[in-house]
Symmetry: C2
């Protein structure tokens, strides 16, 4: 593996690892938004190479470890779960960067290097909710997004759409509480393993192809969320196909709209007790295409304007490393001035 | 295959076929509730033997056809779908026995025998809903159950729990409207194909083993049906396991309670506009174990007392055959007096 090509004078201050269930991403950072190099492998915690966690780190970043012998290493994500490298127990909400940083767990890594692992966060308001990895993205959003500065007392919603979508209420730099919706995983399970996939075109890209189907799904969900509910509206994916009111090409977008619509209706009711009259301001974190689909849905539902934030993971790992004292002030201020 | 042993003087008046996606059941009937013989094979419409529909009928009932050369044959279920023997288009609600019988479809079967196939029923109130086979069970219930006699103007709910649960409102012998809940199929897909199955014991029978887990699921669904909704409550199957508030043996019953609870909450809101102050009287049709689980859930939700009806399919096929004039009055009254 070839060494990273760094411009003269740029010196990394943190090896930041985003280590999830299905992939490992390594960032060489010189600041919260200063990425000197990045590498990626499919070595999620459920798919490690020979040598396990040590082996994955050596394979992906061994040359960096040799080149920068005192570089601190911080990892976030499922690597800190019971099935991960070392379990980092959940921190309870409300939680800010300092509290999360105080619960990093240490493990001995390769080349006698210590690896710091971030804990997840648990909310226990009504039903327990857990996150691992998202807490770090949220700390990154608080760092990057002037609209949700840690000093602001204004409540704000951060939405992380995906397999298990998270809706997170933040205030004054704290994760106050959050809710999970199994939207992405449900979409895959319903399409691949139930009768609802039968009438659909197979191509995965079809999902983006039909805005009429998508918006019809949103409307049906909004109308029936609180009465018949999802178990019942789902059957319309079949009957609207049987009655030819939707084509096989429209049905995947309809199912997507239906599920995202139920998520939005649920979140709307969940965070409706807020003091903000027109709903809380919203920031989205995730893949560009998915966030844009959610923005369409949010507009359709009448949520306040939202914007999409990139690079939240790197910024969050940086923020945590600073809060934990892993990055010396000298290097930190030096990197900060190079932005 | 040995011939059926019939008591002297008993003469069949109808060969009734319950022909679904995964199985075929044949009844030799002498009255709505007078079953002279029954046979069963795994030859659902998706799993036919060589010779297809003709072959299945000859294999299972060829000797009956020979022995009773003028016996009328009537089939209900997915055999009348687009993937079945011959498509019998849906009849629109409201629909009674006469209207359904008027839309039987005929197909030439083996040994030059004509086979009559029952249509399904479609409701198009809010979203389209369809049934195939259940309409026949409902006609059977109207025949067997004195509490929902066709002459009564009292509204009544018939619930058919299962893969796609149906809640059907009947009045004066008519199917007025109905709603589908994908409860059973969702349970299987979630348990087998999502993260929710991971923390569970594998044994299928565990589902009945824990009433505390089941009732906890019912309560969570009732409390959150109209706000966070199913996509969100589902994640508690994982988090209540992670936090050890439920054991791996309790989780299947909890998931079952959660799904059935969302079904009941949805049905309650769907049929709440009824004139009956304490809710409509309820009849359940289905397997004994599943109906008993639903009865526990219905009691927990405060529905009116319900009872379970057996043999609805046979009675419904008989009722349809009479309405269609397939059974002569002489044989019919003779059979009726032998009850």
């Amino acid at each position: 593996m070839s060494p990273p090509i760094l411009a003269k004078g740029e010196s990394p201050a943190l090896l930041a690892l985003d280590w999830g269930t299905s992939s490992l991403r390594a960032y060489l950072l010189a600041g919260p938004n200063v990425e000197l190099a990045t590498r990626h492998a499919d070595w999620g915690i459920m798919n490690l190479p020979p040598g396990g966690f040590d082996g994955a780190l050596i394979e992906l970043c061994g040359d960096w470890l040799t080149q920068y012998p005192v570089l601190p290493i911080l990892a976030a994500g499922m690597v800190g779960s019971a099935q991960g490298w070392s379990e980092a127990p959940y921190v309870a909400t409300p939680a800010n960067a300092a509290e999360i940083a105080a619960h990093l767990v240490q493990v001995d890594g390769p080349l006698r290097r210590r690896v710091h692992i971030a804990p997840g966060v648990m909310s226990s308001s009504a039903l327990p909710n857990v996150m691992r990895g998202e807490e770090t993205q949220i700390l990154g959003a608080l760092e990057l997004d002037a609209g949700i500065a840690a000093t602001s007392e204004q409540e704000h919603l951060i939405v992380l759409p995906g397999t298990h979508s998270k809706w997170v209420r933040v205030q004054a730099g704290r994760i106050e509480d959050f809710v999970t919706f199994m939207t992405g995983e449900m979409y895959a399970a319903l399409r691949q393993h139930t009768i609802l996939g039968r009438l659909m075109l197979k191509a995965e890209e079809v999902i983006d192809g039909d805005s009429a189907g998508f918006e019809y799904g949103l409307d049906v969900a909004r109308q029936h969320h609180g009465d018949a509910g999802l178990l019942s509206t789902l059957f319309s994916v079949r009957t609207l196909g049987l009655t030819e009111r939707l084509t096989s090409a429209q049905l995947p977008a309809y199912l997507s709209g239906l599920l995202i619509g139920h998520e939005l209706a649920g979140a709307q009711s969940q965070f409706s007790s807020s003091t903000a009259q027109d709903g809380l301001p919203l920031t989205l974190i995730g893949s560009r295409a998915l966030c844009e689909r959610y923005q369409r849905a949010l507009r359709h539902f009448g949520f306040p304007p939202s914007h999409v934030l990139a690079n939240a993971t790197q910024a969050g790992l940086w923020r945590l490393a600073v809060a934990a004292g892993l990055i010396s002030t000298r290097i930190r201020s030096g990197a900060g001035s190079s932005r």
